[in-house]
């Protein structure tokens, strides 16, 4: 019998790739706005995928995936904005 990966397997592969990419990108350069932006963007993509496929909000009313995405964007966007402003003021 041939095994074919389903959406959960693909989500795990994506999350592992993004986690490895996060560590690799973070080690590439200290404190640059673009590096912080990339790391936080990867986190947003990972978080949304967890909300969508692990928490199964994909099958729930769209409001809930929207709220989870909004929370991610609010926290990660705030982290990036404050980091960027601090970087520009240095």
């Amino acid at each position: 019998m041939r095994y074919s990966p389903d959406r959960l397997d693909l989500t795990l592969i994506l999350l592992i790739c993004l986690a490895l990419a996060t560590v690799a990108v973070a080690g590439a350069g200290p404190g640059a706005m673009i590096v912080d932006g990339a790391v936080l963007t990867f986190a947003a993509v990972k978080g949304r995928r967890i909300a969508s496929d692990y928490l199964d909000l994909r099958s729930a009313p769209p409001l809930w995936l929207g709220l989870a995405t909004a929370w991610l964007l609010l926290v990660l966007g705030f982290a990036w904005a404050v980091s960027a402003v601090s970087f520009l003021l240095r």
Partner: protein
């Protein structure tokens, strides 16, 4: 349609209708996300106020171990989601095995985190070393507490492996996973 899916249909819970698991778990999830969101917001603002203190503190952390913990926790989340999928089609023994894998990986996460704390304490770092470490230990310690609580919850729902209970327990577990995905870059990586 599975038992759990049937329970998701309109059941008088207003906007909580249609969510996996017991609707009350979502009240807890929302309050936890709000609390951690505010905590992370405080951490971000404190870093902007004292950038040198935070840069010095962050340099003493071990992002490789924290990155490894991310891999462990997302794999654990995958196992928990598989456990839910098995419970939904009434394959309870298989569901228990998936939940056991999720719990084991949760234990690995806790062990790595405690190892990390031990390394920091060996360097003489403690809760009162600097504002960075006060917030770091409180934030990650509070999260670790949730991981331990999540393991207990998965063990409890795994005993009967009832679809709705497994969904409820794994919702909590995925919330813990989601929180780490946000905590890791903000605490360990972003400058």
């Amino acid at each position: 349609m599975s038992t759990a899916d049937c329970d998701r249909a309109d059941s008088g819970w207003g906007i909580l209708n249609g969510l996996p698991g017991d609707p009350m778990i979502w009240v807890l999830v929302c309050s936890e996300l709000a609390a951690f969101g505010l905590f992370l917001g405080a951490f971000i603002v404190a870093r902007a106020v004292s950038p040198d203190v935070f840069a010095f503190g962050q340099a003493a952390l071990e992002p490789d171990l924290a990155g490894l913990n991310t891999l462990v926790l997302v794999t654990s989340g995958w196992a928990a989601a598989r456990g839910t999928a098995s419970a939904r089609v009434d394959r309870r023994n298989r569901s228990r095995l998936w939940l056991l894998l999720a719990m084991t990986l949760g234990g690995v996460f806790a062990a790595i985190k405690i190892t990390e704390y031990a390394h920091e304490m060996d360097k003489g770092i403690g809760l009162e070393t600097s504002p960075f470490f006060t917030l770091y230990f409180l934030l990650t310690g509070f999260h670790l507490l949730h991981v331990c609580l999540g393991i207990v919850i998965l063990a409890l729902v795994g005993r009967r492996a009832d679809p709705v209970h497994v969904e409820t327990g794994t919702v909590f577990w995925h919330m813990v996973d989601l929180l780490w995905i946000v905590i890791f870059p903000i605490v360990y990586l972003v400058h």
